[in-house]
């Protein structure tokens, strides 16, 4: 977790470092007052300077791999039930034990990664796209700004979990509906962020110049404003992803989440919660996986925020 004193984009780092190193080699020997500094270059050097991104990214990548490779990691059918062998503890055959219906928890947790990560990433992407569109329009066109922001305020003033539960109560439990419900709850925040960026950029001289030159609005938006929103939006997207995964778990806990025929970390925990005092492993394993993943995504977000322009990020 780095402070604002660190450098900005990694491209500049290696270039400067590269030139400095070559000058250094040609110069006369200096007295030994300063310890030798190792300048690491390239991608690995970037990761070394930003451990948050390294650790977070590695964990997220691991979880993604687990999710993708689930069928080949020693799993069985996660929905195969066998009540005769219910609630067995972790053992050599069932690495994480079995649940109340005799299903293998290890398999359910690995397949559950697909749903939880799927929900997290989908919400992040969809909310970002929608928020981007709304924020751009709202920030750039003063006419629309007032009414759009009132609507966003309205949606935002309903606590997000309650909004998601209410939306889920309207429909059947399905992964798609969960994604939609959480996305709707997250859009206002993203749109506010984008709108903020657009508002501050709109005053820049080069935008004025573009307008004066008669450039089409769409071109201004796409060529000048959009690129500047990418950085803060990426960071915000990671936070949205982390938040979405937790909200999915809470929705399942309440009973308004993904359908139980598809294992997700949230609903494995929800099903096991009644037995948590006697068979804690049913809740424990998905909880660990969920916490680690959310932690990793948060770390990634923090690291990205510090690595990219800190002045833009300070509000995040």
């Amino acid at each position: 977790m780095s402070g604002p004193l660190h450098a900005t984009a990694f491209a500049t780092d290696s270039v400067v470092a590269g030139e400095a190193a070559s000058d250094f080699a040609a110069a006369p020997e200096l007295p030994d007052i300063l310890p030798p500094v190792t300048i690491r270059r390239g991608f690995l050097g970037f990761l070394w300077r930003h451990p948050a991104i390294a650790v977070g990214g590695a964990l997220v990548a691991t979880m993604l791999l687990i999710a993708l490779l689930a069928p080949w990691l020693g799993t069985v059918d996660p929905t195969a039930l066998a009540p005769a062998r219910r609630t067995r503890g972790p053992s050599a055959t069932f690495w994480f034990g079995t649940d109340m219906l005799g299903r293998d928890i290890y398999s359910r947790v690995l397949y559950g990664a697909r749903v939880s990560l799927g929900v997290g990433f989908s919400v992040a992407i969809l909310a970002s796209l929608a928020g981007l569109a709304i924020g751009l329009v709202s920030g750039f066109f003063r006419v629309a700004d007032g009414s759009i922001m009132r609507v966003m305020d309205g949606v935002m003033s309903i606590p997000p979990i309650l909004l998601a539960i209410a939306l889920m109560a309207l429909t059947r439990g399905s992964v798609g509906n969960v994604i939609t419900a959480i996305t709707i709850a997250e859009i206002p925040r993203v749109s506010r962020l984008v709108r903020g960026v657009v508002l501050s950029l709109r005053e820049q001289p080069y935008v004025d110049a573009a307008v004066a030159a008669g450039t089409r609005t769409a071109t201004i938006l796409i060529r000048h404003i959009l690129p500047n929103t990418v950085a803060p939006m990426t960071v915000q997207a990671t936070y949205v992803c982390a938040s979405a995964m937790i909200v999915e778990a809470i929705l399942s806990f309440i009973g308004a989440g993904t359908p139980p025929t598809i294992p997700s970390w949230g609903n494995i925990m929800a099903e096991g919660r009644a037995l948590w005092q006697v068979k804690p492993y049913i809740v424990f394993f998905p909880a660990i996986f969920l916490s680690l993943t959310v932690l990793a995504v948060n770390l990634l977000g923090d690291g990205l925020r510090d690595a990219l322009d800190p002045r833009m990020m300070k509000r995040l």
């Binding site: 009132r150 305020d153 309205g154 949606v155 003033s157 309903i158 309650l162 109560a169 309440i254």
Partner: protein, 313 residues
């Protein structure tokens, strides 16, 4: 200033109108039929229809919406379908526990988060800083109910220091009241602490770079003096902002915490109402929450003028 307050209050009306329309429409198109649930297992479809008519659920949208708005403006939040009690009375019964929980959580969170955020900013990039930030990120990552179960298991069941569940009213004594709220407040407060600590640290770091801090140091002012007299006061605005935003988080988290610790508050009332499709209760509560949130934001904006004399409306 008064002008600003009036303008802001007027500006909340369209927001509330949007919320009202949004909430009412969503529930109107919802599937699920409270009349059938009330009629019970042994009822025939004719019985169900009769109950539906007696509850007025078969009239058109606009009629129901206008009636509802009219009632709200007269202070009548409707009557619960399931319990036949006025929604306002139901909320009144349940508001003390939720309010208590939120106040205790708020106090706990701020009193823990701000000092550790300041500490982390004071010693950036040290072990303390990293520990604080790690703790903060952990707070975001563990779901509230897992934290709740853990705390209940360790502190209530095993160590028997605190009760597992329930709520005691304030008028039965301060300690009994507090006793029931400590574990839920910690479980709920984790996320809040994480959020506030991060923002505190980030803002303090920025503030500590400023020239006037360097001047103060040059003048020979003590470290705590600098931190609290100058730095924190200037950092107050974003911190207070995030506290305000966090209240929406708290309400959401209260829902889960109230379930785990069996606290008879509004969070549980809302979830029960939503899952049972008790429309009047849902409408009344969401409207209330939005109003509170809007009010809190207004108060915070006004608080800015106190905290930062440069801000004038």
């Amino acid at each position: 200033m008064l002008n600003y307050v009036i303008r802001r209050i007027l500006a909340t009306i369209p927001v509330m109108a949007v919320v009202a329309l949004f909430v009412f429409s969503l529930l109107y198109i919802a599937p699920g039929d409270p009349a059938a649930v009330i009629a019970g297992d042994q009822a025939s479809p004719a019985d169900v229809e009769r109950i539906r008519q007696s509850l007025g659920l078969d009239r058109p949208f606009l009629v129901r919406f206008s009636e509802w708005v009219w009632q709200i403006l007269h202070g009548d939040l409707g009557t619960s379908i399931f319990t036949n009690l006025p929604v306002a009375a139901l909320i009144g019964q349940r508001i003390e526990p939720t309010l208590s929980l939120m106040v205790v959580t708020l106090i706990l969170a701020v009193s823990v988060a701000v000092p550790i955020g300041v500490l982390a900013a004071w010693k950036p990039d040290t072990l303390i800083d990293r520990a604080v930030m790690a703790f903060a990120v952990l707070g975001f990552s563990v779901p509230v109910f897992v934290m709740g179960y853990l705390l209940a298991y360790v502190f209530a069941l095993e160590l028997d220091w605190l009760p597992v569940q329930g709520y005691t009213q304030l008028r039965e004594g301060v300690w009994p009241w507090l006793e029931n709220l400590i574990l839920p407040a910690i479980a709920l407060g984790f996320v809040y602490i994480a959020l506030i600590a991060r923002v505190t640290r980030a803002t303090m770091l920025e503030v500590l770079q400023q020239d006037y801090i360097r001047t103060a140091r040059a003048k020979g002012m003590g470290q705590s003096g600098i931190l609290f007299l100058h730095a924190l006061k200037n950092a107050a605005v974003p911190i207070v902002t995030v506290i305000g935003i966090g209240i929406a988080l708290l309400i959401g988290g209260a829902v889960v915490t109230e379930t785990v610790f069996a606290i008879p508050g509004i969070g549980r009332l809302t979830v029960d109402a939503i899952l049972r499709r008790d429309y009047p209760v849902i409408q009344g509560i969401v409207l209330l929450f939005s109003f509170v949130y809007v009010l809190v934001n207004l108060l915070i904006d006004l608080l800015y003028t106190v905290l930062d004399p440069r801000i004038r409306y």
